[in-house]
């Protein structure tokens, strides 16, 4: 009866692309955006992503040039190649944006994220958590008789792996910064 309830992905004849984007080839890209650190600039960037239906996997921002009042935003986003292209162009045309760089295509880059991981454990589990922390080169930044807070730096996968190992040992809380990234070389 409901003739209009067309299934997502079954409308290749439509004038709009209503196909489920997840059916298509998706890529994850890390973009760095240099912006004027003016009021509302982050709202502008986020509004662009939400308004046009783009994904934000992670986003970090801080002023990197205090004299010139410029902030660097690192965005990890996922989309089809055409959508990634659009995202870059849409960012580039914003008035406070100086430059947009796609680190994923512009050559090798370093991506790092910082995480604070709280684990409640005693006895053998406490020893195991400590040992695993050493393997991952995590620092203990807070300790009680029943808990640790680990500080861990690395790529998102490394942090995911560490967090997964901490689950059976008594993981209670994770705080992650999101990815900061920079191109390698000169």
């Amino acid at each position: 009866m409901n003739a209009l309830a067309i299934k997502k992905g079954s409308s290749r004849k439509s004038a709009y692309d209503l196909r489920n984007p997840l059916d298509e080839h998706q890529e994850t890209h890390t973009l760095t955006v240099l912006v004027d650190n003016e009021a509302g600039v982050l709202a502008r960037v986020i509004g662009l992503f939400s308004g046009r239906g783009y994904n934000i996997d992670s986003l970090t921002v801080a002023e990197v040039d205090h004299q010139g009042h410029r902030s660097r935003i690192t965005i990890v986003t996922t989309g089809t190649p055409a959508v990634i292209e659009q995202i870059k162009h849409q960012l580039e045309r914003m008035v406070p944006v100086y430059s947009v760089n796609d680190l994923t295509v512009e050559g090798p880059s370093v991506e790092r994220e910082l995480a604070l991981v709280k684990v409640n454990c005693t006895g053998e589990k406490r020893v195991e958590a400590m040992r695993t922390g050493e393997v991952f080169r995590a620092n203990v930044v807070d300790s009680t008789l029943e808990s640790f807070v680990f500080e861990l730096t690395g790529g998102p996968e490394k942090i995911d792996a560490f967090v997964a190992l901490m689950v059976p040992l008594g993981l209670v809380e994770v705080s992650r910064t999101g990815v900061a990234a920079i191109a390698r070389g000169v």
Binding site: K13, S14, G40
Partner: protein, 584 residues
């Protein structure tokens, strides 16, 4: 003139220094200091509208008909929120307008003060850029920057939100020449390699079509001249979007008429069958493309646009050229001439023969009547009786807008002001005011539907107050015609809420406003009635009572390709399938 002045004085001084002669606005508590300054000078003319939405559309009409930015001044809270529709309209159609809003004083921001709204937050997605100025020393520079941003690159609306205490405080004024415009400077020159590639493809084109759009208008009169030169030098057929009408003259030999959902048969078939498409300042909007995966399957596509984000957004193109139309066309013509002015003229002649076959279909024909006025006939007579005059046309949105685009001929750019992207009912009446203010001696006609017209009819008061002789040509079918047409085609002729009962008596309404009202419902009287409207020195509401159930054809049904267009009522049964029905 540098020196200390109040924020309110700075606003007026900055507008003067930017060459502004007219401001459309409405006063309120948070802009009183600026209004006080406006009172004490004579260089800038303030037009008092009746609603802030009217101010934005009037500013759009001013901007679209002059190429200069339009300026709006409104108060905080409801003043700003009422301006949102006009800013969104300007954003969608790339029209430069500068909206100045009052704001509650800085120390009250965030307190839910009387008439407070988060204006920069609300308008962030509907402006090209906006600013909240918290320091009087930054005010002048911000206003100059706003003009720079609105008019450079792809034009658009900008907003400067000015708290009341910033208007009262004194600070240092900065003249435009000394103000920093920031780092916003989009590229205007196209990449010469891309231009050369476009010329090479042009030389090899056997079935070319030029598809031009509003970007040609925005680039300025020189761009239209270059387009005309290109068309006549190559003998290529040319069509245009709704936004670009007039850049190539409707009387020109190579004109195919408008393309798109209600475009001509020849224009849409040429788009579908071409092997070379030169898109100049248009954006492959869904009203143009129809079904995207069947859009012009065999063509090499060249796309010239000043906005890189327009490229490959809807349609993948082969040769993108980012730059200003005027600059790029100049380089393109220069390269083409330097390479020997080559075209495949024999193949192009064959292509023209094919186009003439499509043209012979006469897709704009309709069945006329002796007893009722057909809307198409009304527009044909309006065209015949105003042809050759210094004429500017605005429209509302709907069937009448499409008929106006089909039956009125435009010989120059900036003569056709319509809401294309956003499709704002209620746009045309205030827009006609902005046009008439900019061109006091010209003939300004708003072709309207009765439903759209009622949405901003309060602006008749503005027209009468400022003695603006705008002609409101209302094509009255007592229906929301386009909605009714879609309900007929898509929803089993169930006409849910698409007609207006208890419409006003437009003649009495005109008289109540202090304007002239004319009613015409007989085709035999139409010419005399239109002539009476044209001869009257003052604003007129013309109630043209037309056939109630006329549909607008030709039409590409949603979800269909250019070569599946419908020519008339006989072909509409089952024309839109379930996939197309979800589209607008």
């Amino acid at each position: 003139m540098a020196g200390k002045m109040t924020g309110a004085q700075m606003v007026v001084q900055a507008l003067k220094d930017q060459g502004v002669d007219t401001v459309f606005g409405y006063p309120g508590g948070a802009v009183l200091p600026i209004y006080d300054e406006i009172f004490q000078q004579n260089e800038i003319r303030h037009i008092l509208v009746r609603h802030e939405q009217g101010a934005t559309h009037a500013a759009e009409g001013y901007a679209r008909s002059t190429g200069k930015p339009g300026v709006v001044l409104v108060t905080s809270g409801p003043g700003a929120t009422n301006a949102v529709t006009g800013m969104t309209d300007a954003l969608m159609d790339s029209i430069p307008i500068i909206v100045l809003t009052g704001q509650v004083p800085t120390f009250m921001i965030g307190n839910d003060a009387f008439q407070e709204a988060d204006t920069v937050g609300i308008t962030r997605p509907c402006t090209k850029h906006n600013w909240l100025v918290k320091d009087t020393d930054r005010l002048a520079e911000t206003i100059h920057q706003a003009f720079h941003v609105a008019t450079h690159g792809r034009p658009g609306p900008v907003l400067v939100d000015i708290p009341k205490d910033v208007q009262f405080a004194t600070g240092r004024y900065v003249a435009p020449a000394k103000a920093s415009t920031g780092h916003y400077n989009p590229q205007v020159k196209g990449d010469i390699d891309a231009i050369t590639a476009a010329v090479e493809a042009l030389e090899n084109a056997e079935r070319p079509v030029i598809y031009s759009g509003g970007g040609v208008v925005n680039s300025g009169p020189a761009a239209s001249q270059l387009l005309r030169e290109l068309v006549s030098a190559t003998n290529f057929p040319v069509t245009s979007t709704l936004m670009g009408l007039g850049c190539y003259p409707a009387s020109g030999a190579n004109w195919l008429g408008m393309l798109g959902m209600h475009g001509t048969y020849e224009a849409n078939w040429a788009m579908h069958d071409c092997d070379y498409m030169l898109c100049i300042g248009a954006r492959f909007d869904d009203r143009i493309t129809g079904r995207v995966d069947a859009f012009s399957p065999q063509s090499v596509k060249v796309h010239i646009d000043i906005d890189p984000s327009s490229i490959n957004k809807n349609i993948h193109v082969d040769i993108p050229i980012v730059g200003d139309i005027g600059h790029v066309l100049e380089d393109l013509l220069r390269v083409w001439k330097a390479r020997g002015r080559k075209t495949r003229s024999e193949a192009v002649a064959k292509w023209w023969a094919k186009i003439e076959e499509w043209r012979a279909v006469k897709s704009l024909s309709y069945v006329n009547s002796d007893s009722t006025i057909k809307p198409q006939y009304a527009l044909q007579r309006l065209e015949a009786l105003t042809k050759g005059r210094d004429r500017y046309i605005t429209t509302e949105v709907g069937q009448h807008q499409m008929w106006a685009a089909q039956f009125l001929g435009f010989e120059d750019p900036n003569r056709w002001m319509t809401s294309g992207g956003l499709g704002t009912m209620g746009y045309g009446m205030p827009a006609s005011i902005g046009v008439q203010v900019a061109h006091p001696d010209a003939l300004v006609i708003n072709v309207a539907g009765e439903a759209s017209w009622l949405m901003n009819m309060q602006e008749m008061g503005t027209a009468v107050q400022y003695r603006l002789p705008v002609k409101q040509f209302i094509v009255n079918n007592e229906r929301l015609g386009m909605v009714r047409q879609w309900q007929e085609l898509l929803h089993g002729e169930r006409y849910s809420h698409s007609w207006s009962e208890s419409l006003p008596d437009f003649v009495k309404l005109a008289e109540a406003f202090g304007a002239k009202g004319i009613l015409c419902d007989n085709p035999a009287d139409l010419d005399d009635a239109i002539q009476e409207m044209l001869d009257y020195d003052g604003p007129v509401i013309f109630d043209c009572v037309v056939e109630k159930h006329e549909n607008c054809f030709p039409m590409i049904p949603s979800g269909k390709a250019h070569n599946e267009m419908l020519l008339g009522s006989a072909s509409t049964k089952g024309a839109i399938d379930v996939g197309g029905a979800v589209l607008v």
